[in-house]
């Protein structure tokens, strides 16, 4: 299995808020060793590797994880806690997962 972590840099050169938050969680949980490659999607550079990867897989949200397993179709995870539970097989709190989903999909509260 190969895991690629894509983080976004904003036009002002800072990391996007959620990218920084996810990175902080990964640091605290010691998950960085499980990531094979980190790519940057730089809003100032449309040809940056992260932007190209996002275009290739039609991903519209950062950060995201690309999970490649031999003989299987690549999988994209845009929800960090879903990635942690399903790929890293680590425990997550449901309330954290649900909050992340709603934060990433603000229109869901219209349902």
């Amino acid at each position: 299995m190969r895991i690629t972590f894509v983080k976004k840099i904003n036009l002002d050169g800072s990391f996007c808020k959620k990218c920084a938050d996810v990175q902080q969680k990964m640091d605290a949980a010691g998950q960085n060793d499980m990531i094979d490659e980190v790519l940057i999607a730089d809003e100032r550079d449309p040809s940056s590797p992260g932007v190209e990867l996002a275009s290739l897989y039609n991903v519209e949200r950062a950060p995201f994880f690309l999970v490649e397993r031999e003989g299987e179709a690549p999988e994209i995870y845009t929800v960090y806690f879903k990635f942690v539970k399903e790929v890293l097989n680590q425990q997550t709190k449901e309330e954290d997962e649900l909050k992340e989903i709603l934060n990433d999909n603000p229109d869901l509260d219209f349902l």
């Binding site: 976004k8 996007c16 808020k17 959620k18 990218c19 999607a41 809003e43 449309p46 040809s47 932007v51 190209e52 996002a54 275009s55 039609n58 991903v59 519209e60 949200r61 950062a62 950060p63 999988e75 994209i76 995870y77 845009t78 929800v79 879903k82 399903e86 449901e94 309330e95 649900l98 909050k99 989903i101 709603l102 934060n103 990433d104 999909n105 603000p106 229109d107 869901l108 509260d109 219209f110 349902l111």
Partner: protein
């Protein structure tokens, strides 16, 4: 079981110029295990359209947060009887609601924000429901929330709610329609509607978090009016357009 979708982006380009009925027809033809999300508001047009396209395939669910208006409960029941369909009313996890209310009371959303309550009362049961299907249909429109989602596609690969290792397809047949077009359809087709609309409610959600709006106000102003609208998601869309 659904056909494999090679590229939702390519299909979106084809469907985006089609009518809601054509998009619905495609969705119902492509997927067997597909549900319509019905909020008890003007998204009833989806139920009406789907019923006219393929009545035998109409599967509907509603999220009962426990805080809806009495009028909305009556309307859900009216729709069930009007179309003679089953509506799967799904509920939040009792223990999670109990914990929230015990620790923060019944109106914590006025002091914090609505997200914690919404995640427990809506997102949790929504996820449980969506784990059982291959595709779902919503009444989301671009004009509902231009600040947060100016370009809702008519079809998308729903990565947030997909079962592990599988895909979930989300259809938004009304994405390109305006509120006016929805109401023109309701009136032209004698579609039943929630009586709250006659009292000035445009957007209808939970009772404590919904209020009527004045003429000229955007419908979003009728929801969570005590909060400042903020852009929470971290989109890559603009960058993708440029590449």
């Amino acid at each position: 079981m659904a056909e494999n979708l090679l590229s939702t982006v390519d299909i979106d380009q084809q469907l985006s110029t089609q009518t809601p009925q054509e998009i619905l027809a495609y969705a119902l033809k492509t997927f067997d295990n597909i549900v319509i999300s019905f909020s008890g508001a003007e998204d009833v047009v989806l139920v009406d359209m789907a019923y006219k396209i393929a009545p035998e395939k109409v599967q509907v669910f509603s999220l009962d947060t426990g805080r809806l208006h009495a009028e909305t409960y009556r309307f859900i029941e009216k729709v069930r009887k009007h179309y003679n369909i089953k509506i799967d009313v799904v509920f939040p996890d009792t223990a999670a609601v109990n914990k929230l209310v015990r620790e923060k009371g019944l109106f914590s959303f006025y002091e914090d924000d609505h997200k914690e309550c919404c995640s427990i009362r809506k997102i949790g049961p929504l996820r449980r429901k969506l784990l059982t299907v291959d595709a779902w249909i919503t009444g989301q429109r671009r004009d509902q929330s231009p600040g947060t989602r100016a370009a809702i596609p008519v079809i998308q690969d729903d990565k947030a709610f997909a079962r592990p290792g599988e895909s979930l397809t989300k259809f938004n047949p009304l994405a390109n329609w305006s509120s006016q077009q929805v109401w023109d359809y309701i009136r032209a087709n004698d579609v039943p509607y929630n009586e709250l609309h006659d009292s000035g409610f445009i957007s209808i959600g939970c009772e404590p978090c919904t209020r009527p709006t004045s003429p000229g106000q955007h419908e979003r102003e009728g929801r969570w009016w005590w909060e400042e609208a903020t852009l929470k998601e971290c989109g890559l869309h603009d960058v993708n357009i440029k590449t």
